[in-house]
Subunit: 205 residues, 2 copies
């Protein structure tokens, strides 16, 4: 097993799905949590000036989705065949766009006009993401209730993680999407995930 070091801020943010992948696979890693106050000094020493990045026995990978897909492939959480692998990726692509719209709201300009426009974009993004993910889950012929194929994949982990963020602000967004709700419930009650959630470091976001 290679030696993994996952570098990210001391928050869930964009990096949390990476930590969840390690947890689900039961693979040990060094969780390098960089305090935001240290970032100006640390930034120029990172490979791309951004977090997260991953070290794998010293080899560097940057770009959060690239890192997540790498871990999912290494841990067998990427889907069982070529089409399933791409459906897992399709779901995660929509979720990443939705999370970026949420971050834009949270981290962007806070004046009334900007927030109105950013919130409108977020609502549209959440709606599009729900419709698209529901479409993909609905094409799954397995009765197991996971998003893609018969087994848990990174798609389920990321659905659960991303909608936990969104539901905290908009509790009704999944009311019309029982299949997505079901994935979230299955993931939340998965014994490995339950243990991880009960033990992970508590941060405000």
């Amino acid at each position: 097993m290679p030696k993994y070091v996952f570098h990210y801020f001391d928050i869930r943010g964009r990096g949390e799905p990476g930590r969840m992948l390690f947890a689900m696979a039961g693979v040990p890693f060094k969780d390098d949590r960089i305090p935001q106050a240290n970032w100006p000094q640390v930034k120029d020493k990172t490979p791309s000036g951004s977090l997260p990045y991953l070290e794998i026995d010293g080899t560097i990978l940057t770009q959060s989705l690239v890192i997540f897909r790498h871990l999912a492939r290494c841990f067998g959480l990427d889907g069982e065949n070529l089409l399933d692998k791409s459906k897992v990726e399709e779901i995660t692509e929509y979720l990443a766009e939705m999370k970026e719209a949420a971050f834009a709201c949270f981290l962007g300009p806070q004046d009334e006009e900007s927030q109105k426009s950013l919130k409108e974009k977020l609502v549209n993004s959440v709606n599009k993401t729900c419709v698209q993910i529901d479409r993909i889950i609905s094409s799954n012929k397995s009765a197991e209730g996971w998003a893609v194929g018969k087994k848990v994949t990174f798609a389920d982990i990321f659905i659960f993680e991303a909608f936990t963020v969104i539901l905290a602000a908009q509790p009704n967004v999944l009311d019309k999407f029982p299949k997505i709700q079901n994935v979230c419930r299955k993931m939340e009650s998965h014994s490995v995930m339950k243990k991880y959630l009960s033990q992970r470091k508590q941060t405000p976001y």
Copy 2:
């Protein structure tokens, strides 16, 4: 071999790397080029309201990068091992961000103030992309001159395609990056690519 239908506008735009992947692999596909004038009528009939999308024996895949990675995997153009696959993806992620910055300039508001800000973002994006791709190519121990590993991959195809777009507007951006220039030259003079370029439908962008 499945029956592929690639749906995109009648331009190169975001879709061209998909067509290039089919060409490099010598795999036939139906190239459904939708005239921009028809888009308002077609949009609601597409799976996600966006182009490109791909049909594979009737199964739908959306999201351009998901489609490209799917084709690269199916055609063996995705890298030879787990780390190489992720480096190919890392390169394509930076290129896609750079192309989005170029589209934002081209398709965004054309007033002086907006263009100044969009062009500044594009210059920063091009510079970051060059530095990051140069870093990744430099870590390749093979002497063959391809971006990742010993053989041509989707990373080479996308480097060539994306920098063709950028170099048309900014001819000097690769002056300090001979390794990226070399990939572009190797790709441009590859017999299969040469034939494709000489035969493809000419469109303004």
